[in-house]
Symmetry: C2
Subunit: 207 residues, 2 copies
């Protein structure tokens, strides 16, 4: 007989170890940073042996993929909030960019895992770039509603990619020490981010 409802009511050895591992990894990521995220440390944090994760993930990289997936979903929430908070299409373009870079600035280690996963495979997660409801498509749609010519498919694609590249570059560079005086002069990081994005065509004028 089971010992009368363990706190988390684990029907199996651990319940859902896969989920527990991803959560432990996220916890570690916030507490200790990205360079402390070893497979063994994650197993330790989840209270399980070093070999246990291999029954749920083929690789360390596959666990990181799952963490990254979690990250993209959180980013998607921020995206939705930014879009819903503004009605004017040009505002929406700008605020989408700001939301993106702010997310990266607030979760630097998570963002690093997210992009390192993509970079290693030269491949973005399908639901980010390809889906109908993907973040990429969302940017594209907002660009159209802000005045971009929907019949110029190639131009539209290039503009969307330019958006994304500028946001990603800024996301990785905004923490550089050299920019701190400028941030202070502008009254905070967000003003700095807005200032930089304003010099990227698509963010500046919606086309």
């Amino acid at each position: 007989m089971r010992e009368s409802e363990a706190p988390e009511s684990r029907p199996y050895h651990h319940g859902d170890l896969r989920r527990a591992l991803v959560e432990a990894a996220c916890r570690l990521l916030e507490k200790e940073g990205a360079q402390a995220l070893s497979l063994r440390a994650v197993a330790r944090e989840a209270g399980v042996s070093p070999a246990a994760p291999y029954h749920h993930f083929k690789d360390k990289s596959e666990l990181l993929d799952a963490v990254a997936h979690e990250g993209w979903e959180k980013l998607d929430l921020a995206f939705q909030a930014a879009r819903d908070a503004h009605t004017s299409p040009p505002d929406r373009v700008r605020e989408l960019g700001v939301a993106y870079v702010c997310f990266a600035s607030q979760h630097p280690d998570l963002y690093r895992v997210m992009y390192d996963c993509s970079r290693d495979k030269a491949d973005m997660p399908a639901h980010v770039l390809e889906n109908e409801e993907s973040a990429y498509r969302r940017v594209r749609e907002v660009l159209i509603s802000a005045g971009a010519d929907p019949s110029d498919e190639i131009g539209l694609e290039l503009a969307t990619i330019a958006c994304w590249c500028a946001a990603h570059g800024l996301a990785e560079m905004t923490s550089f020490k050299q920019f701190e005086p400028l941030k202070e002069a502008l009254g905070g990081e967000e003003a700095f981010l807005r200032g930089v994005l304003a010099h990227v065509g698509v963010f500046a004028k919606g086309l």
Copy 2:
């Protein structure tokens, strides 16, 4: 007495092991990629014991810093060439960006080491951002000669950073598989890069 001029005339045990290690690291980087760049592998490639590098570099990261330094100097050469190949200021702005991203595309593993070093310390190498002859200053100068208002210091700074961010983002994303159809439609990677950069304000119109 010395044994009559050994091939490389090594006055000491190895001659200049520091330099030899950096060169071995660069060789490994091209042959095996960035994830194969362990300290022990570098020592092996240089024909020396695993502990030898520690007399020339405090850390593994300090060796990588030296490799990155080498990379920034190579990039600087490409920058100079791009600037000297064009006379019209707007052309120069554009070609600087293209040269930057092309360099990253041609030496992806080196570029990765270069940026990972900066990212880990949230700090760009001094000679890249701060010096008078730095790449950053070079972009700034070209922006001014292309029509940017030199009295608007903050605006100029923001525009330069926007340049840099877009170039960096594109450099890291240009290898993504999802962009391949678009590259083909445009007739090659360079056309793709130019197309994307054309949607970044500073690259597009020099301001």
